[in-house]
């Protein structure tokens, strides 16, 4: 969902990383679902996109 939100804003991973204050590689890890961010980081990402956490992060059927 980060990718979708990023596409809406027309931001690159590097641009999002700079806005959130993490590395570009970290954004990549989160975006492809390899790393589950903490609540604080999830809230920061949501705030950057001016949306709610639920619209970006959702539970999988396996969670």
């Amino acid at each position: 969902m980060i990718k979708v939100e990023r596409a809406k804003k027309n931001w690159t991973q590097a641009e999002l990383a700079e806005k959130v204050g993490v590395s570009r590689q970290s954004i990549n890890s989160i975006e492809i679902g390899k790393f589950i961010p903490s609540t604080i980081l999830a809230l920061k990402i949501a705030k950057t996109f001016e949306t709610s956490v639920e619209s970006i992060f959702q539970l999988d059927s396996t969670d």
């Binding site: 590097a14 993490v22 590689q25 990549n28 890890s29 790393f35 961010p37 980081l41």
Partner: protein
């Protein structure tokens, strides 16, 4: 990432390099020159000091890492610690059965192996979280 964070990230490998150079220098000095024990202790202290500075800088840089980077470091250190422990345990048990040749196995031979374990751990962790420089824009 801010300037302080970048500054620390860039400097840590420099301190690591200083430590490695001082360690190798110390090793060669002791092996090649027949220095008296008291002077030898002073030579031994040099890599201890450079290592302390490196570890302090590395520890400080952790405060400026994001959570993915912290997890990568943590997993790499855990991997290195576990395998180092396993290696020491195996060697100490082998030592009970066989007299290990001091030229082939000594504490100094373990240092680069521990470092290799750390980098293997870091490599595995980076792969696990796909923490690569590859762009996906």
């Amino acid at each position: 990432m801010d300037k302080v964070s970048n500054h620390l990230h860039n400097r840590v490998p420099v301190y690591a390099l200083i430590w490695i150079i001082s360690y190798i220098g110390c090793l060669l000095t002791i092996k090649m020159l027949s220095i008296p024990p008291k002077a030898g202790i002073i030579v031994v202290i040099i890599p201890i000091l450079t290592f302390s500075v490196f570890i302090y800088k590395f520890y400080r840089s952790i405060f400026f890492m994001d959570e993915v980077e912290i997890k990568l470091q943590m997993e790499a250190v855990v991997f290195a610690f576990v395998f180092s422990l396993l290696l020491i345990m195996s060697l100490s048990l082998l030592e009970l059965m066989y007299i290990l040749n001091k030229e082939n196995w000594s504490y100094r031979h373990l240092v680069p192996i521990f470092i290799i374990f750390y980098f293997i751990g870091l490599f595995i962790s980076r792969r696990k979280y796909n923490f690569t420089n590859e762009k996906h824009d």
